[in-house]
Symmetry: D2
Subunit: 251 residues, 4 copies
């Protein structure tokens, strides 16, 4: 009884991410891996194999032509490749206008825990006097704070501003440089770099007598897999362009 | 310019909770404490003082007659007194039917962090293979698990069941009695009792390569205050009966 | 059978700290509270009552004359009053030279958990590539980092230097100001200020594949009490001057 | 200038652990990997290559004959192979008696963070009224609690008993089965099983107003490497048998 399984193809199948996705698709009872494609392969294998959904973790240089081909051939796409700005998103929407039955999901972050952390932080933001963000990563990371922490702090700041909540109280009058962290739209963000860590983030909220902490720990590089599979399972029911996996989480 | 401040009365003003509420109302720029009432006092002071909202943290024996009097006199109520079962809630609804302009908020838990923890846990429940709950309290607590942890686990279990998510994976084949915690609808709950703690709860979710932790720490007994003030500020705009502060949190 | 109980006096008995100590002494089966003294009272009450150990949480202006009187009268002392520099400590040692049977304990921090945190951090310091310190306090605190965090970082740095351990690895090349915290002798320290917190500190160590975290949470102002009682019970067996409670902890 | 590097051999070089050790030895500036041996290889390669220290992560069936050969040939050994009971340790000591210059280190756990956690827990045990242990592992683990948690709880219990400390206070009168965890010598131990975790342990101590938490997180399988390298560097200076890496940590 394999006839009802979703037929999945993977673009960039030999990359580290692609390999993890292939393994996960093969392990899933409701999915069937029917095509693995890498940069020198023709895309025709997707049509020949009856692929219904293609996962694309390739490169900004090739993802747009991949996407156009997939849309034109009526194949849904789940895309983790980076580099999508407003112009590119508009191009994808245009192309989809001629193929209203096709669904495309483009997401900057497929880790469900990371996405929920941001969402919950946004929801909680206005209900606490105080908020700070701590992100903790391996010591090889080049930027501080992390992009996710920066974005989380911005979302929190926007939610507080919209609700008319002022700055977190802070009576600090004597401080060593840097002790109070970086300021992202009035939200303090602290970056820890420690051997033995991978990628972690903690959002701390506080008000009279209580605190709420939302913490996300990503301890291996395959934490994107469940989010990708979710996209594969849902995208056929979401024609048009979906940006981010949030809308799939029924929040 | 005090004319626009909400005129607040407190029932049970001399109790420990009542005192904390009186202090908080007095400290709030947009609220005015106009009446403090205890068990031997007449309720007329509320009408005489032009009270708009009364906070009731009294006793199950008297709260129903308090509420009827308040509703009949067109005064909104924010109620933290315990003992409201379906019968009592129905009685309140009946009384409110004749006074459609009056708002009554009855909540078992005014700690915003506790309410958000439950809500977020419910939303996250279906997206992770695994979930367990740890609650940590001072060693004088009589019941294990706590009522809040029991309720949190039940909400998580219901959300997972509704989404068709099975039990958390668990290969344990050799265990000491109790090591794996209590079973609440297939969700494992662990109760820690430790001197130096007050009331804390942690919900742990996990899936491939990542975990999400939602933790609530309540470290003093006034953590209900912000939730009560929120109720006081909002109840005039919510005629009828509201149960729990969740609907006020715009989630 | 109260005859074997240690006879305890309290100097500064009406202060907030003094009250907590009086209550704790009265609650301890092996201690007897025989004298409460405040600033306008004569010290003679200690000799009249047969006091064996006096606890002094008073003021830098009066503590030296208190101590001299106690030493001269053969009474042991446990001192939490601040302001002891090397000069003052030398004065106390001199006075004790003439009364070799008297024990005096002077400690800047009586919270056993804080002292153990520092000690363990010092012991662990050389065994991990990476270390950072996070301290978290209520938002009314004036200084950042806290004195305890500063001292903890200094102890860690000294232990690493003595063992020839270099700086924690850190590839950060792009950072917002403050993101990476304050630098205390090459140890990064991050200060969180949040409503709903009291006084907390976390020391994070990391090396290949593992991290070790030592966390101290002080959630009410009486966390000094067990350390003071420990001092009261032990000081008679430690003639001379003892600085800090570390030597009493049998580490 | 490689002449001063320690010449290292690895037994079980092709195993997962052996590979990680080979890689680490090769990456260390002060060590030189001179021999890789697996089960069908002759041990003579160690003498031929001038190996000074051999690391043995093999199998209980072969480790004793490996060790005898190494001792007889004057080669130091660092052993992570399991299965050493008192009889086996006595045999090793006997063999070493004839070769007093040889050092052998046999350790059940090379993760420095795990060893420090146990040591610190033992030191802190007597100073807190309350203690509980939480261990958290991936869901494929067969036993609950983990061996490390069981041993940690036993060490804590022994330290408390030696100091005359009674049971942790606990007023629980109504509990669901298992809520309060397993009882290991009067210390409560809780086992969490969660997808997305590897191996983690938390020891919680509490007394009036404060708690101390010692947490160890092991997030990949190579966390034994730094402890093995430490053994390799130190064993030549420790003739005779050393059990456990604790004595190498200068605590």
């Amino acid at each position: 009884m394999t006839t009802n399984r979703i037929r999945v193809g993977v673009l960039g199948a030999q990359g580290r991410v692609g390999q993890a996705i292939c393994a996960a698709v093969e392990a899933a009872a409701d999915l069937e891996l029917v095509a693995r494609v890498d940069k020198d392969d023709a895309l025709d294998v997707f049509t020949e194999s009856g692929t219904q959904v293609v996962v694309d973790f390739t490169h900004p240089d090739v993802v747009m032509s991949n996407l156009k081909w997939l849309i034109d051939h009526g194949i849904h796409a789940v895309v983790g490749t980076t580099g999508f700005d407003d112009t590119r998103l508009a191009e994808v929407r245009d192309r989809l206008a001629d193929h209203p039955e096709v669904g495309v999901l483009i997401a900057p972050n497929f880790a469900i825990g990371a996405v929920l952390t941001m969402r919950f932080a946004e929801q909680a933001a206005r209900w606490f006097e105080s908020v700070e963000v701590i992100e903790l990563h391996h010591p090889n990371k080049a930027d501080a704070p992390s992009g996710t922490a920066y974005r989380t702090a911005s979302l929190i700041a926007a939610a507080r501003q919209a609700a008319g909540v002022g700055r977190s109280p802070d009576a600090t009058s004597t401080a060593l440089d840097g002790a109070r962290g970086a300021d992202v739209d009035d939200v303090r963000v602290h970056s820890i770099r420690l051997a033995g860590l991978v990628a972690h983030q903690e959002v701390l909220f506080g008000t009279q007598g209580e605190t709420l902490t939302i913490r996300h720990d990503s301890i291996d590089r395959t934490s994107f897999v469940p989010g990708v599979l979710l996209g594969v399972r849902r995208i056929a029911d979401r024609p048009g362009l979906t940006v981010g996996i949030d809308p799939l989480l029924d929040l």
